[in-house]
């Protein structure tokens, strides 16, 4: 295929799956927030970065190991998200979505600035936990155990989130609240609380992705801003607000990007946007979006 040997293609597909599961996890949080709150959360990359830093700070200064960080970092960052929703975002729901975008973009810049002030631009290293070191030899490549764990963890979390929103009573209430908040409130459901926790949960998902990424890439203040644009494209391709769309397009785009890196590497950072343009011409609401 394109003069590239088969083992190389297999290797790249495997890596595409790893990256795709990252995209899926990140775009899932964005899709949840957009679908249920109608907020274009530009701070998503910053929360992802803060999740990674929370894990780093926990390990360096508080002795919190990786496994506890997987739980505690999303919790801490999620609470920050809740506070931001309560203090700022809540007042913008009645306005044009542009205001939410501006607010979250500002939050992202502030968070990046603070972390750069504290930790510098070149970032910090987070060690891979001992039990996940080493790799499986697949014949065509060595797959680090840690990457396999990332795929497993992301897919599990994606599945659980999908189940929670689409198949449980709580999820049904959430979806109803987005359709008609007043009516749901009349039934005695505390809608503002529901919305606040949804934002917190979306933010926590970003932070979880940050913890998962910390041992793989340099924990740096700019790690989120380079990723968030791609993740937005993934969400747009999947259909803004569609949970299943975010998961599927995350995985598929990871695979396509992986292949691009062998066939024409220079295009690897634009291929997602080219696909986005094509999809928007053909289906303006995205692959899984409702018109």
């Amino acid at each position: 295929m394109f003069g590239v040997p088969l083992p190389a293609i297999l290797g790249q597909l495997m890596l595409g799956l790893v990256n795709g599961s990252f995209y899926a996890l990140l775009s899932l949080g964005l899709a949840v927030i957009f679908g249920l709150l109608g907020v274009v959360n530009f701070a998503h990359g910053a929360f992802y970065m803060l999740g990674a830093f929370a894990a780093y700070i926990g390990l360096q200064f508080l002795g919190v190991n990786y496994w506890c960080a997987l739980l505690l970092a999303p919790l801490a960052v999620g609470l920050l998200g809740v506070a931001i929703e309560r203090l700022f975002l809540r007042h913008l729901y009645q306005l044009d979505p542009l205001y939410g975008l501006l607010l979250t973009f500002a939050i992202a810049l502030i968070a990046e600035g603070i972390m750069r002030g504290l930790f510098g631009a070149s970032g910090k290293s987070y060690p891979v936990p001992d039990i996940l070191r080493g790799g499986f030899n697949l014949g065509f490549m060595v797959l680090p155990i840690y990457r396999a764990w990332v795929v497993l963890a992301s897919l599990t979390v994606c599945g659980l989130t999908w189940f929670l929103i689409e198949r449980t009573r709580l999820g049904a209430m959430l979806r109803a609240a987005t359709e008609n908040a007043r009516l749901v409130q009349a039934f005695g459901v505390n809608v503002p609380l529901l919305v606040m926790s949804t934002y917190g949960a979306g933010v926590a998902l970003a932070a979880l992705a940050g913890v998962l990424a910390a041992p793989v890439i340099q924990v740096s203040p700019l790690m989120g801003s380079s990723l968030v644009i791609v993740v937005f494209a993934v969400v747009v391709i999947g259909g803004m607000g569609s949970i299943i769309g975010a998961i599927v397009s995350g995985l598929v785009l990871g695979l396509i990007e992986g292949l691009t890196k062998v066939i024409y590497p220079e295009a690897s950072n634009i291929v997602v946007f080219v696909i986005m343009a094509v999809v928007l011409i053909w289906r303006p609401a995205g692959l899984f979006g409702r018109e």
């Binding site: 083992p7 290797g11 890596l15 510098g120 070149s122 490549m141 793989v216 340099q218 062998v262 690897s268």
Partner: protein, 401 residues
């Protein structure tokens, strides 16, 4: 009537403002710093660069020719247009006398053109691209700290001579990365080695695994990393994770001590790299390192040390010629030897390159490192001519004179 007096007041105010600006320019020596203060390269010089320049000014006594020395600083955000327009603005309105240029070859090439147009001495320090003293040279630019040619001659030749004959490059896809790869590839082939392939990764890539697998599939012995900053950190981390460092020897074509510090010795150990300066070379460098550390809480990078040196050498030249005339100063700089804690017997070549000693280093293992920031051991000391060749770059129009 009201409107008339308002206009008059405004006019008077503007006149006064213009006068105060001109006065400020006249009785001060203005040194500018245009650098990446917030992006991926902000740890290479950034605030530390400004601090180093201020240290040089303080050591000089804070004034020259009876005029106070001030520093202006701005973030170019890695955008050539911002760098060039800020430089122009300072030259036109703030009486800029000299410019220190930070990271990013692309920005520095744009700023060199302004230096020539405005006749302001320009010390390119953070940028590596050798074209700054080649095709992009000007009569007012000095490439001060290091360039891609020296990096190639240092790291690549040390590794080829140790038997690393076949190379694969992972290259940052912009001016700096491609110039660095070219310089290294030239050295590899000249020493009987072979380049098996290269892949150009977009600047700011976080996941290098695909590129690294391609490098591994090539069967090359050496993995040449022609990138810098977080790109370098992430590609090296990936190479460790995928077990590629077991079969290939990684070569850092540009790494700063700030990178090694953030990667930790565990990941960076054994790496070869080329540097113009290291804080732990001798008494003088240690003394500077200590003073810098007291302010910034980290050891200076080679380019931060160069910021100090360039500022000091400029002020020495101003004092020697007794004027800030750019042509007199450039002539003075070109004829004097540079001797300070940054380098000994450095000199500025016809094409504007400051020729000076460079060091090939190897990163210590955690066991070898005895105290904080004890990161490098010297593998080889290269004379300036060995690092950059004995002749000025023929691509530069100034070389022919």
């Amino acid at each position: 009537m009201m409107r008339k007096s308002m206009t008059g007041a405004l006019g008077a105010f503007l006149g006064l403002y213009a006068y105060s600006q001109a006065a400020a320019a006249g009785d001060q020596i203005v040194i500018g710093d245009i650098d990446d203060l917030s992006g991926v390269y902000a740890d290479v010089q950034g605030q530390g660069g400004v601090e180093a320049a201020n240290m040089a000014i303080a050591d000089f006594g804070g004034a020259v020719l009876g005029r106070k020395i001030v520093v202006l600083s701005v973030d170019h955000q890695n955008k050539p247009d911002i760098g060039a327009s800020k430089f122009r603005e300072w030259a036109d309105q703030n009486g800029l006398n000299m410019l220190l240029g930070g990271s990013n070859t692309g920005v520095s090439i744009a700023m060199a053109k302004v230096a020539a147009a405005k006749k302001v001495p320009f010390f390119a320090i953070g940028a590596g691209g050798a074209s700054l003293t080649g095709a992009d040279c000007t009569a007012y630019s000095i490439h001060y700290a290091y360039d891609t040619t020296a990096l190639g001659n240092g790291t690549a030749s040390a590794i080829v001579k140790q038997g690393g004959k076949t190379w694969f490059f992972v290259t940052a896809d912009y001016a700096f990365g491609t110039q660095l790869q070219e310089a290294a590839a030239r050295v590899v082939t000249a020493n009987g080695g072979k380049v098996l392939g290269a892949v150009r990764a977009p600047l700011g890539t976080t996941d290098y695994s695909s590129f690294l697998l391609q490098a591994q599939a090539s069967g090359a012995q050496v993995l040449g990393l022609a990138n810098a900053g977080t790109d370098f950190s992430n590609s090296l981390k990936g190479a460790n994770e995928f077990g590629i460092t077991k079969t290939m020897k990684p070569a850092a074509l540009l790494a700063f001590i700030s990178d090694i510090h953030s990667l930790t010795l565990q990941t960076a150990q054994g790496l070869y790299l080329t540097t113009a300066w290291y804080w732990d070379l001798n008494e003088e460098t240690r003394a500077f390192g200590k003073r810098f550390f007291a302010k910034m809480h980290k050891e200076p990078t080679m380019t931060q040390a160069a910021y100090y040196s360039a500022t000091l050498q400029y002020l020495n030249a101003v004092k020697a010629v007794g004027s800030t005339d750019p042509d007199l100063i450039m002539a003075q700089l070109r004829k004097s030897k540079i001797n300070d804690m940054f380098t000994k017997n450095g000199y500025i070549r016809a094409d504007g390159l400051m020729v000076h000693t460079m060091y090939v280093m190897q990163v210590k293992t955690p066991a070898e490192s005895k105290y904080p920031w004890d990161y490098y051991k010297v593998i080889k000391v290269m004379s300036g001519e060995e690092a950059d060749g004995s002749q000025p770059d023929p691509a530069c129009s100034l070389s022919k004179k």
